[in-house]
Symmetry: C2
Subunit: 362 residues, 2 copies
Amino acid sequence: MSTTPQTTPRRATITDVAREAGTGKTSISRYLNGEMSVLSAELRARIEAAIARLDYQPNQMARGLKRGRNRLIGMLVADLTNPYTVEVLQGVEAACHALGLMPLICHAANEVEMERRYLQLLTTYRVEGVIVNALGVREETLRPVGGGGIPAVLVDRSVDGLVTDMVGLDNHAAAELGTRHLLDNGFDDIWFVVQPFEQVSSRRLREAAFREAMSAQDRRGEQHAARGHTVVLDLSDMVEMERTLAELDRAIDAAHNVRGGTGAAGHGGRVALFAANAPVALRLALHLKTRYGDDWQTRVALLSIDDPDWAELTGITTIRQPTYEIGYRAVEFLHERIEGVQTAARDCLLPGELIVRASTLR
Amino acid sequence: MSTTPQTTPRRATITDVAREAGTGKTSISRYLNGEMSVLSAELRARIEAAIARLDYQPNQMARGLKRGRNRLIGMLVADLTNPYTVEVLQGVEAACHALGLMPLICHAANEVEMERRYLQLLTTYRVEGVIVNALGVREETLRPVGGGGIPAVLVDRSVDGLVTDMVGLDNHAAAELGTRHLLDNGFDDIWFVVQPFEQVSSRRLREAAFREAMSAQDRRGEQHAARGHTVVLDLSDMVEMERTLAELDRAIDAAHNVRGGTGAAGHGGRVALFAANAPVALRLALHLKTRYGDDWQTRVALLSIDDPDWAELTGITTIRQPTYEIGYRAVEFLHERIEGVQTAARDCLLPGELIVRASTLR
DNA sequence: CTGTTAGCGCGTTCAA
DNA sequence: TTGAACGCGCTAACAG
């Protein structure tokens, strides 16, 4: 059965259907748009038959060109590798489905240049709006978007100088939640590990909230104050990353021994790493496993924002983001803008949920 | 700085630019298409200025409508949750970039109905071709595609009765590779765990190759023959899944005790589970962890086709698919078809790579 | 070198 | 109820 795939036999157009049905294009158009009340049953039947016979499917491009709207929206994501992104996408798709929109997914693969190109492309294809979860966009890149250009909604991160709707995690509350959890469980040293801030506002916000929660603890006058540190880990630069991890190792060693411990598990200060997101957490877990072996969790506790599916398997505590809802809300916002809503730019901050697992319990 | 996002001020068209530059549309069109040699330097400068002043961006929809090609291809995927899919996507994107194509990603989220809708939509948007990695499509669904319709390339799975190019893993070799590895490492009982076959050819092929490799072992007359079993695990039906897992548990218990062992680790028959893909492997790992605790790997070995990032963390042996290349090749095939290549339908089977980790070593 | 003309496939008056 | 004619934004064929 190795038939040769044959060449495409030019699709039928509305004109073909009109001729086949022995009528004009207008009637076909009306039929397609459901204006049945304006068509005699007889003509409708003929049109139906003609369409079926020709296997006709209206050209959406042409329709869009005509009516000036194509029901297309762009979804620009920075990293599909991050489970967070895929989960948000589910919400986006569900909402689009409900609202009659069609999402075009564009994956920048963490490359700023790609991002720029896709944004350009979405613009020239005249999508009605875009949802952007981007890495390095600055205000200029998004110029054609938001304010003066097509409607835009930002997800997870805001862009300096760009006034648009934004929806994402309540980063402040989430980081505070995680930090409090670690403090309540008696950790002595906590490292907040985050990727280079760059233009990503959520990273900065999470780190700031972490530091704030750590100093709030000081002022509360707990019996012994825990120490907080921030480490910036660049996942895209192997060499730099290894260097940072080695440095972290030394610091952890020092913390383990500071309270006169022998260095064995549970004898020195208790150490926790607070990963700002799942990719960081994964990298840390892999590193810790390499360094301490399979029972690395007895030496260092790991807590992460994001709840990738391996978290359950590894038993690390996480703060799960309401990803589905984030995506859903983003589309709702965008839809309102497309429909012409003119209110001031809105922020929608959704709460994270602490999922306690074995890793952070005493 | 809570400025109100203002309404879209109608984008400039080619006519606007022509007027602004004091010339005709044709010249603008020529400029846009890089036919510089046919334009006086003076006119070109005026056009350039006009374009900049109006921030003009050509409408791709209109262009596509005119020239009959829009450089768009559809990428229909069944499940973005599966890391395999995302990895393939990377290859697809790279190839598209290189060939000047624009991939529209459509995510069916494992729903056959979604799949149908997206396929329909891609068709009506007149994409030049589609890459399909689908769940339940049958020949009818893909009718508009492949043979008589727009060019199509299948990824990972073929569809009965549909004659098109296909690219994916060499399932037979991969399953055999995994099975041989388990046999060589002295496992006594091996369960091949796979999702319901449905229309997914790769599942069937892998299972068949597993069984074949198991019986080939018999004929080789090894000192003691291992027993092979197949389990179908439906991840989408929680109740059914739990039932199947409980059954599997009992069978494993029996195997553990069969050689007079006490049931303690390492005393009975050695047991391995061979997961047909990553989602199955994850589900199995979670279950085993629940049942046996953190040291579940001392009781049961896990091997999986697909190499998700938690595999390294958990230390399970895997067979990594050449995902990037699969995606890249798929686009190359499709591109050839779009350009009119007429050869018979081709199959491209790429080899998997065995990555041995602690889980399956004696 | 440049502009005019005629569509691409479709929706929308407007008159019949 | 029906259909002819015009135009959406753009490209291509043909003059000048």
